[in-house]
Amino acid sequence: MFFGFAMDKYYDMLLEDVRFREGLKACMNCGVCTGVCPAAEFYDYDPRQIVSIVQTRNDDAIEELLRSERIWYCGECMSCRPRCPRGNTPGYVIQALRTLSQKLGFFVESEKGRQQLCLKRSIGENILRTGYCLTPQLVRPETHPEQGPVWRWIVANDREVYGRLTPSYDREGAGALRRIDRQSLEELDRIFEVSGGRRMFDLIEKHSDRKAREMGYDGADERYAADTFSRNTTRND
């Protein structure tokens, strides 16, 4: 304890993440990162302020951050990395904060944080099912109207359209859009098991389920997931 504030608990946890050690040396609050940041352009978001709060090492302030909307605005473009005169990378600090927020279950306390469930259920599960982050079937025209009529036509005629360009479409062997063999998928699965990927997925489910019940849903069901995917109450002005 220092001046009556709880200090360092969360800061020490953040230090376990090498991205945090790499991303935050000493910030001089110049704001250059905020100047180039596409998230700051769009949201009420200021990477300089995030770094500055973390730098206080104050547990209450950091916990507030871990529960907040703010840490979920960054697009991880890393435009801030080559620009910082002190060699910091606010984008890395954000990655460490998000990881910790999920480990501690704080992410479900914000609307943007709760979206991690949809990301886990779409991209995350697709990785283990197919060996790819994205497959054509994942970009469903109903949830992706911005993809336009050409994409709708591609998805509706996938075997023909992809088949014209890549004979390996959805088949095992080499080539684009090939189906990944069973052994490789099993290896991927074990990598997730051994290295903590599976544990992260389970944590996201567990905390989402708890929060969903608290919010009056029957757990983290389809309806909860669909609401977190489309609900947006952020004001950008």
Binding site: M78, G124, I180, I191, S195
Partner: protein
């Protein structure tokens, strides 16, 4: 400019000349499967290089990592598996076909160097999970680095140039580098973060000219969770919008992007903006065609646009093909396998020009 030249030469990285191990990208193969084919064809058939397409390698899980659901330790182990497979296949030079994974491979190699305990841990995880041994690569390049490396050989075999055949003027090109190519590790990208030269070098060698505009280095706006989750997509379209507004006054003939994600977003958001507010950015009142560099190289080499997969674009590429003097069969565009007719996509404002829409509204 002396300063500029110095910066460029400082960032001349070594690119392997042969025997590549190809790491495929999910975004590239989903949205631009023809580009991937063109890259392999250019290297294999045109340049006689050896490139290994290993059926066992998987996604790098990079989109999951940058959506913060895949932990660092996990992606490190997945990447270590790709390196292990490469060594087993007898290769040392990795070439990745996506900016996001290029950034990840570089970031991980750097992290292993700086924090050796992370490399040790990854070796253990890999061994335990798969029985495989991590062997570090000799080099990691992006597919565009390799095309850049061979740009003069490609120019020597060119069937067409990036020139307007009616006016004889060089085509005016907007190049988009993609943040993760050079902003994470400037020294790993040709030209670094300030003067990325990878696409500009191709454009100049093939007869075109690059446009410098205020938001040239701004992100396309993908932002991972900011596009993947529907509620956040305003971020993505707003950043693409900012770039398009900034480049339009310079009247580009086309955009070429380094990253398959960026190519897709700059194409699709033009469609969305045109539908939402009737705005189009091309000089002819339509959209600005957005190419991948493989498509650009393929057109220069005389490949058929539909064999290059340019029917996957939302913004029609035909106006550009005509400017370049490319012969093509308009009726073959939307055919399936073996010339089968499978219907065609519905019309969109971005391809017809906003005037018609305004006219319709007035009616």
């Amino acid at each position: 400019m002396a300063g500029r030249g110095a910066s460029w030469s400082e960032y001349q990285k070594q690119i392997a000349d042969d025997h590549y191990y190809y790491a495929r990208s999910c975004i590239r193969q989903n949205f631009f499967p023809g580009s991937e084919r063109a890259f392999l064809r250019i290297l294999g058939e045109e340049l006689g290089r050896d490139i290994c397409d290993d059926p066992r390698h998987t996604s790098c899980t990079g989109i999951g990592y940058h959506s913060d659901i895949v932990p660092l330790e996990t992606i490190m182990t997945v990447v270590a598996r790709q390196f292990a497979l490469m060594a087993e296949a007898g290769y040392e030079h990795l070439v990745t076909s996506c900016i996001t994974s290029f950034g990840i491979y570089n970031e991980i190699l750097n992290t292993w160097e700086e924090f050796p305990e992370t490399e040790e841990r990854t070796r253990r995880y890999l061994k335990e999970a798969t029985g495989r041994e991590l062997v570090l690569p000799k080099s990691v390049s992006h597919t565009s680095d390799v095309v850049y490396h061979f740009r003069e050989q490609i120019a020597a075999r060119a069937r067409r140039r990036l020139v307007n055949v009616q006016t004889g003027e060089p085509l005016r090109v907007v190049e988009h580098i993609g943040c993760h190519y050079a902003k994470i590790f400037p020294k790993s990208g040709i030209g670094g973060a300030e003067f990325p030269y990878v696409l500009a070098g191709m454009i100049e060698s093939w007869g075109g000219t690059c446009i410098d505009y205020p938001e040239r280095r701004h992100c396309c706006g993908f932002g991972f969770r900011n596009y993947l989750v529907q509620a956040n997509r305003g971020y993505s379209i707003a950043n693409s919008h900012k770039k398009l507004e900034s480049m339009a006054p310079y009247k580009p003939d086309f955009i070429v992007a380094n990253c398959p994600g960026c190519s897709m977003f700059l194409d699709k958001w033009q469609y969305a903006i045109a539908e939402m507010e009737g705005t189009t950015y091309g000089a002819d009142g339509r959209g600005i065609p957005v190419l991948t560099y493989e498509e650009m190289a393929g057109l220069v080499l005389g490949y058929d646009p539909w064999e290059l997969g340019m029917q996957f674009h939302q913004v029609d590429v035909e106006p550009l093909l005509r400017k370049m003097g490319v012969e093509f069969d308009p009726a073959a565009k939307y055919l399936g396998r073996d010339g089968k007719y499978i219907g065609r996509p519905e019309a969109a404002v971005v391809n017809s020009g906003p005037d018609k829409r305004v006219y319709r509204i007035r009616e």
